[in-house]
């Protein structure tokens, strides 16, 4: 350890160890100080190393630090090495920054919970795992973080462990993620046995000469890795766990299931971009899955009534957006959206948490309404986040979303159809987000009197993080303003350039035609279309949910079949249950009751029975009659002689493959 880099991850680990060993013994105040303090210091260190890194010349912006050799077996050797490059630098800033704000927020949100200390311990463990995930310099370390965040997600979703729905959701999250991890593992094996290393830098350097572009090996490997990503980042077909994960406390939803962990899949694709650009088929699948997920989740979001579930589907949808970007090889755009999304989605979730807090744990938007006068700060900040996610020109979501839409249209790997799906998703997003705002903060107050009496704005520890994130949601996108405006450099893209240099070189060898000059008029045009149509979607939301809230029922009736399908989330859970879980369960019972007990044990017990039976028969032979003894003797001799003759030819039956 020569730098402070490992400390960024190890500090939260220390916080976890202290808080978990002394759980129940520390006062809430001390537990909170340890929990937040370690993350805050980690954040400061992240800023420090960020500046250390930017002080280096652009093409050598890599800092790595090895703790020790984890395992060496034969030629296989893996170190605990932390790697800071422009990509991981952004990630640790987002993770520790947003993470710290959510830690602070949790002080207020969890203030009256008995499991306060345990909660902070788990949060810290999560920070550790997530930081290992993004700072790991090789696949195996990433996998440590990858499974580690999965564990924390499991523990935090099921935090209120006396609720069956919560523990069920936790288990579901873990198991579904494990299916993804299965792909991750196998992908990792293919990479290792071809390249001979799991180190990301070595892989980026050697992949172009090891694999054939578009070959079976690299396509299989990347598809398997992408399976891992679909698990962690809740994409089709493994998205089913994320909406259920809302059973966890709201700060958890904000931190893990919106801002950080679920973006791990996108980060992984960016980290191994060299591999992915070598497999155009995989990229196409990534883009299609991303687009399909974005659209599907957005439609489900239209009809959810639970405020957190709307946000959960929105997260799935936005993640789909990021994958769409990766799928058209615009990894930088994906990471940019990852960052802005972390700001405004964390804010939305924490705002929702603030609402739930004020509403005495009510999450159903049908029982809310008119909250803006009771919770002005929550309202204002959530409104800003909604504007950001809807892509109001000038604030963060606009720039990152526009960047992705433009790339889906113009990239060598892009297609107008992808752009169209992305645009459609953007409209749906605007609609359901304003539906959320209107149902929650405007209109009639639909809560009961008791709840109404309790209504209050949340404490400072909760609203301060909201305000900070609201500011970030506005200005966070300015570092990635496209060249289009003012002709300035896109700082964000520029900063990430060295990370994607290797994949860029691969792409250049693939591309047949010379780079087409950036056609600004099309970009302007597309941007205008999206913005204008978004305004239309906003208008619709105003019409349905603000002006005439009673008309909500009407479209529902007219599309009742479709509505039922969407309202029930396309019955995906039910289909999985019928087609996968139930058959496997029955199969297990079959193996146990029939194969194990009946057949195998039956044969063995039958064997024992047979021995008993034979001995009874043999007893009959003990008759004492000389003639029968002689007969048996003769037959016996013949048998032995025959056997010996056979034996003298040896055992070389073809059955065993004659070797000599």
């Amino acid at each position: 350890m020569q730098t402070v880099l490992p400390l960024i991850a190890l500090l939260p680990l220390a916080g976890f160890i202290i808080n978990i060993l002394l759980v129940g013994k520390l006062s809430k105040k001390v537990a909170a100080i340890i929990g937040c303090g370690t993350v805050f210091v980690a954040f400061l260190l992240a800023i420090k190393v960020f500046f250390d890194l930017s002080a280096l010349p652009a093409d050598s912006r890599v800092i790595s630090d090895t703790l020790y050799n984890w395992m060496t077996v034969g030629g296989f050797s893996v170190d605990f090495t932390f790697l800071l490059d422009p990509l991981s630098a952004i990630m640790i800033l987002v993770v520790t920054g947003v993470g710290f704000l959510i830690h602070i927020y949790s002080i207020g949100y969890m203030a009256y919970d008995e499991g306060f200390g345990r909660f902070f311990a788990y949060l810290n463990l999560f920070m550790f795992s997530m930081l290992v995930l993004v700072l790991g310099s090789n696949f195996l370390m990433m996998f440590v973080g990858w499974e580690g965040v999965g564990l924390c997600s499991y523990l935090l979703i099921g935090f209120w462990f006396d609720r069956d729905s919560a523990t069920e959701a936790g288990k579901k999250a873990f198991v579904v993620n494990r299916i993804g991890d299965f792909g991750f593992l196998l992908g990792m094996f293919i990479i290792y046995w071809n390249i001979g290393s799991l180190d990301f830098q070595t892989i980026s350097a050697l992949a172009p000469t090891t694999f054939v572009i578009g070959g079976t090996v690299i396509t299989t490997a990347t598809l398997l890795l992408f399976l891992g990503a679909t698990g962690k980042s809740a994409q089709i077909p493994l998205f089913v766990w994320l909406p259920d994960a809302m059973e966890g406390p709201t700060p958890v939803s904000a931190l893990i299931h919106a801002a950080t962990m679920v973006t791990a899949g996108v980060y992984m694709l960016a980290r191994t971009s060299t591999l992915f650009v070598m497999a155009p088929t995989t990229l196409m699948i990534v883009a299609i899955i991303g687009a399909a997920t974005a659209l599907m989740a957005a439609t489900i979001g239209l009809f959810q009534n639970d405020i957190k579930r709307v946000l959960a589907y929105s997260t799935v949808s936005q993640l789909g957006y990021m994958f769409m970007a990766c799928g058209v090889a615009a990894f930088g755009a994906g990471i940019f959206h990852l960052m802005t999304h972390a700001f405004f989605k964390a804010l939305l979730f924490m705002g929702a948490g603030s609402v739930i807090h004020g509403m005495s744990d009510e999450q159903d938007m049908r029982k809310m309404g008119g909250l803006k006068k009771y919770m002005p700060i929550t309202f204002m900040t959530m409104l800003i986040a909604t504007l950001a996610i809807s892509g109001l020109p000038g604030i963060s979501g606009f720039f990152s979303k526009d960047e992705i839409l433009w790339q889906t249209f113009s990239s060598d790997y892009g297609h107008p159809a992808l752009w169209f799906v992305g645009m459609l998703t953007a409209l749906l997003t605007t609609f359901y987000m304003f539906r959320l705002i209107f149902l929650t903060f405007f209109g009639k107050e639909r809560m009961d009197e008791k709840t109404k009496a309790h209504l209050h704005e949340s404490p400072k520890s909760m609203t301060t993080p909201l305000i900070v994130l609201a500011i970030l949601s506005v200005i966070g996108g300015w570092i990635g303003i496209p060249k289009l405006f003012f002709g300035a450099t896109n700082y964000f893209e520029h900063w990430l350039e060295p990370v994607f240099a290797s994949s860029h070189r691969v792409m250049q060898t693939v591309a047949q035609q010379a780079e087409v000059p950036h056609d600004t008029s099309i970009e302007w045009g597309l941007m205008a279309i999206t913005t204008i149509l978004s305004l239309g979607a906003f208008g619709l939301a105003v019409r349905f949910y603000l002006k005439k809230p009673e008309s909500v029922a009407r479209p529902r009736e007219s599309f009742s079949g479709v509505h039922r399908l969407i309202y029930n989330k396309y019955f995906v859970d039910e289909i999985y249950h019928k087609l996968v879980i139930r058959p496997l369960h029955l199969f297990s019972i079959f193996l146990w009751k029939i194969v194990d007990v009946l057949i195998i044990d039956g044969l063995i017990n039958g064997g024992a029975f047979l021995v008993g039976g034979i001995s009874r028969v043999v007893r009959l032979a003990q008759s004492g009659r000389l003639t029968s003894y002689v007969t048996v003797f003769t037959v016996g001799v013949a048998l032995v002689a025959g056997t010996m003759v056979l034996l003298s030819y040896g055992f070389d039956y073809p059955l065993f493959g004659a070797n000599n």
Partner: protein, 539 residues
Amino acid sequence: MFESQILTWLTFLPLAGAFALLLVKKENVKVIKAIAIATAGIEMLLSFALYASFDVGVTRMQFVINLPWVEQFGINYHLGIDGLSLLLIVMTTILTFLAILSSWRSVTKSVRGYYFSMLFLLTGMIGVFVALDLFVFYVFWEVMLVPMYFLIGIWGGLKRIYASIKFVLFTMFGSLLMLVALLYIYFAYYTQTGVHTFDLIALYSLNLPFGAQSWVYLAFALAFAIKVPIWPLHTWLPDAHVQAPTAGSVILAGVLLKMGTYGFLRICLPMFPEASIHYAPLMVGLALIGIVYGAFVAMVQKDIKSLVAFSSVSHMGFVMLGIFALNTQGMQGAVLQMLNHGITTGALFLIVGMIYERRHTRMISDFGGIAKVMPVFSAFFLIATLSSIGLPLTNGFVGEFMILLGAFKANWIYGTIAATGVILAAIYMLWMFQRVIWGKITHKENENLKDLTGLEKAVLIPLVVLIFWIGLAPNAMFKRMEPAVANILHIVRQADNAPEFFSAQDGEEEFNQDLANTPVDQQLNQSQENEHQSETLTQ
């Protein structure tokens, strides 16, 4: 002095302790327990001394003692260890010590006989791991059977007689086959060299024609396969585990199952390399079935103990797979997983035992909401569960990862099928954990359960330390087993006369088929060189 005596001490100290117990009056329970704990404790410390003075990186057997015993038959008192035996010995002494400690309160019936059996068993187990003479090996192998039979049959559960007889019949069946095979080798060696010997190392050089080798190999393999147990010879295991007392289950799962895989490594592979290679696909196939089958059946178990028992079938399948991947990663992973399985499953059985003592039931449906009343217990249970499903930074991950890596190299289909076990393990373990620990308390009897006592924590903490130690720094183990594993692989590869098998083994080539003209990178060369070096070192 230390060099040549320590293995004898290790082997017979428990036996001496056992006989010391007979000098104490039956009623004098405290003294009996004290003697048993002291013996097991000293034994454990002795094994630590062995660990400390073991010469890392040396292939030859260490701490060797070789004295003639029955000279006319060529039987020698020949003991010695390599890294493989060393690690298993240390694990055995630790597990036995903890098992004896955990019996402090739970065993009340004929206490003297119980501890006598435990100590007697310890001698048998250590004996198997140190024996370098096949006859001595066989004697200890059989010695183990007797105390285990009593442990299940006397201190076991309701169906203990059925279980203990089933256990003995299965094992005896294997042992008899092994005895026949053993005598066959003995005479075959005499025919070839004119020397009567049971010396294991000498017998390695025996050169049997393939046909005969096949038969003898299969006889040994069957004996070992029953112990492991390999599917479909596993049905004695759930019965024995469920019926055995806690300490019995710990030793059974932790150590006795390893006798099977140890046998494969110590006898089958080096003595019958051609047959081992020839039958490797069969063994791998059965291992894969075991992995998936054990996991599926574990999923629907109603008794926690039989769930853990079936999970053992799955995990031992992983070990077999690693061994018969016949490459460095697979085999070292397998050896590590032998230790891991002992530690983790040992911990799980101890944990189940602790809750059984409080509730006198092991049915999953009798629990729920335990986290509320027994938070410390739940934390230990969670750690053991996570280790069992191979979460990174716990021991289980390193072993499973290496096995899968090795298996994937041998044949990607092996690796892929086995990796499904990783998903299934998460399902059955977490589902069980959810039903036992999380949720609301649904049974009145569970409302006032006491959390762990100091003694119970003391039993579990060492295992938790081992779980994380191996998870974080497995090199301590890998370093010690490396020469032994390399030696076995070296013997197997030398004897290899089926080139098509190994081209797939070493085979990056196979993998890179569609990369025909790409330059082989330096890393790969290096890694192959490294492997090569470690092998030449052992010649």
